[in-house]
């Protein structure tokens, strides 16, 4: 009797395992489908010149297509624009977000921080296109033109809540003993935060920053309202600038440039995957 029951349970266990495996595979299907599609269509465009040259004009591209040659040029202007805007956004968002997250973690019950926490959630849920149009009103209109600054303001607004949350969560799971030990030595709360808590939380915060970057790097809508785009490499921050996701949109809209869509997409996808994997790896390493 008991023997039969055990057998029954083993069978049920096995069935359960199969069902779980099945669903796990199902979730992986879209990921691999996307990855496969982009990889197949884009890999032959990735070459050294793809990263060092700027977007070709439609005319040049048309000539190349007529001659049956691959389209010349690349996405260097977009890569550089993306890096500049991400860099500027991160330089402001990282310290602000960490400060804000530390404040929220330290004063969870205070009325003000509860409001800030709620606003952070709202900001995180705000559609990026709305962040784009608002940044347009706030930055592009008063500055009388599209610019890298405007683009980075939009990216900053998108990164901020992500960094605030990851900082707050990481600080909250640190053992209370760490903070108490710091205070017991006579440190004030700011110094204990700076010298004990934040260093101990570094892994989690750094991971959070990487994830925030990977989340906003592909944003297109907010940059359409702010950075606009630019067909050559540019380093001035008060002028329109290009970005990789903007280029993908431009390539899509120009029949002569459509070949380039996949190379740019593959680059963006690989970059985000690398950031994510690095973040995962670091998080694991620091948690040991």
């Amino acid at each position: 009797m008991t023997h039969l029951k055990t057998k029954h349970r083993l069978l049920a266990d096995k069935a359960m395992l199969w069902i779980v495996c099945l669903f796990a595979t199902l979730t992986a299907v879209p990921l691999f489908a996307i990855l496969g599609e982009v990889l197949l269509r884009g890999y032959d465009q990735l070459s050294w010149s793809f990263f060092t040259e700027t977007t070709p004009t439609a005319y040049k591209a048309m000539k190349a297509i007529e001659a049956g040659e691959p389209i010349p040029g690349g996405i260097a202007n977009g890569i550089i624009g993306t890096m500049i805007m991400l860099g500027m956004a991160a330089i402001v968002a990282v310290p602000t977000g960490i400060l804000c997250g530390a404040f929220l973690a330290e004063n969870p019950k205070n009325r003000f921080s509860q409001t800030v926490s709620y606003l952070t959630d709202l900001l995180q849920g705000t559609p990026s296109v709305i962040i784009g149009i608002v940044t347009y009103m706030w930055v592009v209109v008063p500055m009388k033109g599209y610019s890298a600054i405007a683009g980075s303001v939009a990216l900053f607004v998108m990164m901020l809540p992500l960094i605030i949350r990851s900082t707050e969560e990481t600080l909250k799971i640190l053992p209370a003993s760490l903070k108490e030990a710091g205070l017991a030595l006579g440190g004030n709360r700011a110094r204990v935060m700076l010298k004990v808590q934040l260093p101990a939380a570094f892994g989690g915060i750094f991971t959070g920053v990487l994830l925030a970057i990977s989340r906003v790097i592909g944003e297109t809508a907010p940059l359409m309202f702010t950075a606009l785009g630019c067909s050559f490499i540019r380093f001035s921050i008060d002028k329109p600038i290009s970005a990789v996701p903007l280029l993908i949109w431009e390539f899509f809209n120009d029949p002569n440039l459509q070949e380039l869509i996949w190379g740019a997409s593959l680059f963006l996808l690989l970059f985000v995957l690398t950031l994510n994997l690095t973040a995962k790896y670091l998080a694991k390493k620091w948690n040991q």
Binding site: S177, L178, A181, G182, L183, A184, K195, A200
Partner: protein, 255 residues
Amino acid sequence: MESVKPILEFNKTCVSYTKQTMAVKYVSAAIDRNTITAIMGPSGCGKSTLLRAANLMHELYPNIRVDGEILLNGENILSMEPVDVRRRIGMVFQRPAPFPTMSITDNVLAGYALNGIRLSKAEREETVERCLKSVALWDEVKDVLNKKGTFLSGGQQQRLCIARALAMKPDVLLMDEPTSALDPIATAHIEKLMQELQKEVTILIVTHNMGQAMRISSKSMFMYLGELVEYGDTATMFSTPKDERTKAYLTGRMG
């Protein structure tokens, strides 16, 4: 005169976590300078709560209320700045908690860094060596001073934490079951150390281990349900406890 006056004095000290109940009830006791005083009692009787109040740890948690007085050299610490109090009253916790991101050296000097005090290189070296020697850790770690403190064994970590507290030259050192997470050898090490340290610092130690209280302390407190039931000479208390509850605890009929 100075040596006669108690260094730390609880005066009708009460601590409560909630409005309805008190975790520490009207504790009054004077602690003599350069002695070791043991606090004993079944778990949950308020030993840690009392000790933490003397370090103003309750300032961190708004729900905790402390009433009465706690006097350090005659001055009520409850109305002093926590930062000033904690510099003079150090604390060692039950679980060794070296700062995980700091080297052994930086752990010893953490108090200075956290107080914004800059030391010269010579002062740093002198302090690290003196403090690690006073916890008998110097010989074991002098070649790995730049390694993380968390690489050490539990007993070594706890001694590092004691060294860290001593580096600030506190008047009083509070220890909350400092050896309960350690093996017997490490425990013996730390007990020996405490006896030497009482020349420099007054120690108040919570312990579950009666043998430990007997070996190291000159005076003992026995607490029960938040009350200080009995306070006196350790030897006297162990041989002829005055209160029934103390007797029950010491003979193992309680907690």
